[in-house]
Symmetry: C2
């Protein structure tokens, strides 16, 4: 092996396993004319092969001097300008045939509040309805499917919905977050009973006024973690 | 950079991130004289630096043509001879300072039935009480702590305990598995009521006889998955 060959093979990565970091970012969007919000995620249009011009999850290569979660935050900021309200490792995807060269992707999933997700506009980034994605690059459809499954599970036994809401919200707004995540309508009276008995919400003295009758604003009990991440919490 | 330098640096991995796969394997042991089983795990004594002669999780480097789960199974078989009844990805550990060179470890966790875990004896492998480990190599104490947390969570909402039991078992044996995992005693009458109402056990027509009065043998309902692994199930 000559030096040139060695450098070239390192550059294209045909003889090494490379580590990438990608992130599935969920947010909510209220489309004009739509009463209810939709669960959406940002994708980046690829500008080179493999899968040139296909949509893909935001991400990039892991730097040698960078922790995994830092790499997720950095690549997220570089590609979309977003900074998440919740970030958790999802899974390591490493099937041999998932890319022309060998790539193990450490995938994170994140939540971004609706207001923040609208503040930046990046080239080659677009937001998609999480429930109806086009065919994505690599195994990214499978990855999004798994992230949705994790989110739907977690919303049932944690305060994770908070990561998609402003600090204060009405019970109707909270219910709409659950409905957008679960993809189905929930009975308002049952929903109110369940969240009130769960003891994770604190009523405020403020009300949302508008075209409807005033609705009390709530906030999450900050003494309770957004989600129990066990000994890996930081 | 000369060719020699290139080969040397590739060999020690100072300028690349390498991917390793390790596995936390839980089993049960009934020590002589002890009535109740203990949750145990196998560790391998390291024979080279870093951390020479410290105990570490079974594992090894990911081959370029090998899937992650295959690597977990292979390194498990090579280092301990074990073949697990349950295997699931735990987490990717990738802190920059967890090793002198940059290593991202994709960690799996596994369950091995008690009878199988006794059939092989490998050099440099010993079984340890999961609740009282010595200081391990690298960040392996933290990794075992996280695996224990995952196992304790999962035993509450899945049939995962089955992975530590023979096909047929008494309710007392099942309760002992829960007690060993959770690290506390459970009320026998309450436990019986809970598992009977969960509908995941099927009574057989066989009984365990011995020094006590005959106890009915049960088996798990095979129509229910050991644990819901969502869209990643295979």
């Amino acid at each position: 092996m000559t030096r040139t060959a060695s450098v070239a093979s390192a550059a294209v990565g045909t003889d090494v396993t490379r580590v990438a970091v990608s992130t599935v970012i969920f947010s909510l969007r209220r489309e004009p004319g739509e009463v209810r919000p939709t669960l959406v995620l940002p994708l980046v249009k690829r500008t080179r092969d493999p899968h040139e011009s296909a949509w893909a999850l935001p991400g990039g290569w892991l730097d040698i001097a960078e922790n995994l979660e830092s790499a997720a935050s950095r690549t997220l900021a570089e590609t979309t300008g977003l900074s998440p309200s919740y970030l958790e490792q999802l899974y390591a995807f490493g099937a041999v045939d998932r890319s022309p060269t060998r790539v193990v992707s450490i995938v994170y999933w994140a939540l971004v509040r609706e207001d923040i997700s609208r503040t930046e506009s990046f080239e080659n980034v677009a937001w998609f309805d999480a429930a109806s994605l086009p065919p994505l690059a690599f195994d990214h459809n499978q990855i999004v499917g798994y992230a949705l499954w994790r989110l739907r599970n977690k919303v049932g036994y944690s305060q994770i919905a908070h990561g998609l809401l402003a600090d204060e919200f009405t019970l109707a707004e909270l219910r709409e977050v659950y409905e957008a995540i679960l993809g189905r309508r929930l009975d308002p009276a049952n929903f109110r009973r369940q969240v009130e008995s769960a003891d994770t919400l604190l009523p405020t003295e403020s009300f949302r006024t508008g075209s409807h009758r005033p609705a009390r604003l709530y906030r999450y009990n900050q003494d309770v973690e957004l989600a129990d991440r066990g000994p890996l919490a930081h």
